[in-house]
């Protein structure tokens, strides 16, 4: 059963991922190790593909609108005297 897969065959990989630090050299090695594992493990590859499909649909899905209450609070703040009081800094273009 796929639901039990991660608790058995991939435990050593999970432990490595959990213990890894984010120093650049180790990150590079770990990223490579993970990519190799995903390429070689059919179960992980299938789960990754399914997750990718789900996330793609999630990205494309219409999001619920900003609630009227939150929008009104924002507009009240923006159009009222409080708008000048927040500390701010310039933002560069991207």
């Amino acid at each position: 059963m796929r639901g039990e897969h991660l608790d058995a065959a991939c435990r050593s990989w999970l432990e490595l991922a959990a213990q890894a630090r984010e120093a650049d050299d180790r990150d590079e090695r770990l990223a490579q190790l993970i990519a190799e594992h995903l390429a070689a493990c059919p179960d992980c590859a299938a789960s990754e593909a399914a997750l990718t499909s789900l996330i793609q649909r999630y990205r494309d899905a219409a999001q619920p609108p900003l609630s009227e209450q939150r929008e009104r609070r924002l507009l009240d703040l923006l159009c009222g005297p409080a708008s000048a009081s927040l500390a701010s800094r310039p933002q560069p273009d991207r």
Partner: protein
């Protein structure tokens, strides 16, 4: 007239909207909110993992944008500029949070499986549409990720930034970004297991 009752067509054109913002026209600020706030709020919610904190981020971001619109030089679209302001503001808020260390194995052991009733069945036969229930499930799973993993995952996988762009936003190396995204995906695979496995079976059946 209340600010939320305005005619959005007044500033339909982005250049006109920018001019209005530079004149500090309140109607232009309102148009900005009407046009961009829903999308920006979703970004803030995904980055912060909390609707109320996201509202604070949105408020601060929009006020900053209106106050500093003169600094916007038009090298990107207005929406892209606003997206970056929200991202930076959210990251600043997240850095103020107390750092949390996460043991992935402990997280996986602690996580109880989602009840089967949450598995979305409403998308059949059209898989192009995601059901509201499933979307909320994904929202919750993303919100439950540790801050560092959630921000990496949202910027790269949900917002569609390149690895280089997302790494730059977060101030980390591209390798570190990749590892964080992998870790986030691993946790999401577990959190969304009932759906992911069902999706996998459907994909196999299609093959």
């Amino acid at each position: 007239m209340k600010p939320w009752d305005i005619d959005l067509a007044i500033y339909e054109d982005e250049l006109a909207l920018l001019e209005g913002l530079r004149r500090r026209d309140r109607l232009a600020c309102t148009c900005l909110v009407k046009r961009f706030a829903p999308r920006l709020y979703q970004l803030a919610v995904r980055l912060m993992g909390d609707p109320d904190e996201a509202e604070g981020v949105l408020q601060e971001s929009v006020i900053q944008a209106c106050a500093h619109v003169d600094a916007f030089q038009g090298r990107s679209e207005l929406g892209t500029w606003l997206h970056r302001i929200v991202t930076n503001t959210a990251l600043m808020h997240l850095r103020r949070r107390r750092p949390v260390t996460v043991d992935l194995e402990e997280q996986l052991q602690r996580r109880s499986p989602l009840p089967q009733a949450l598995v979305d069945r409403t998308t059949e036969p059209s898989r192009a549409v995601i059901g509201a229930e499933l979307r909320e499930m994904v929202d919750r799973a993303i919100a439950a990720l540790p801050d560092t993993l959630r921000t990496a995952f949202v910027l790269r996988e949900v917002e569609g930034l390149s690895t280089k762009e997302a790494a730059a936003e977060l101030g980390i190396s591209e390798s570190a970004l990749k590892v964080r995204v992998h870790r986030a995906r691993l946790m999401l695979r577990e959190a969304l297991a009932p759906y992911v496995h069902g999706e996998g079976r459907r994909r196999e059946a299609d093959a």
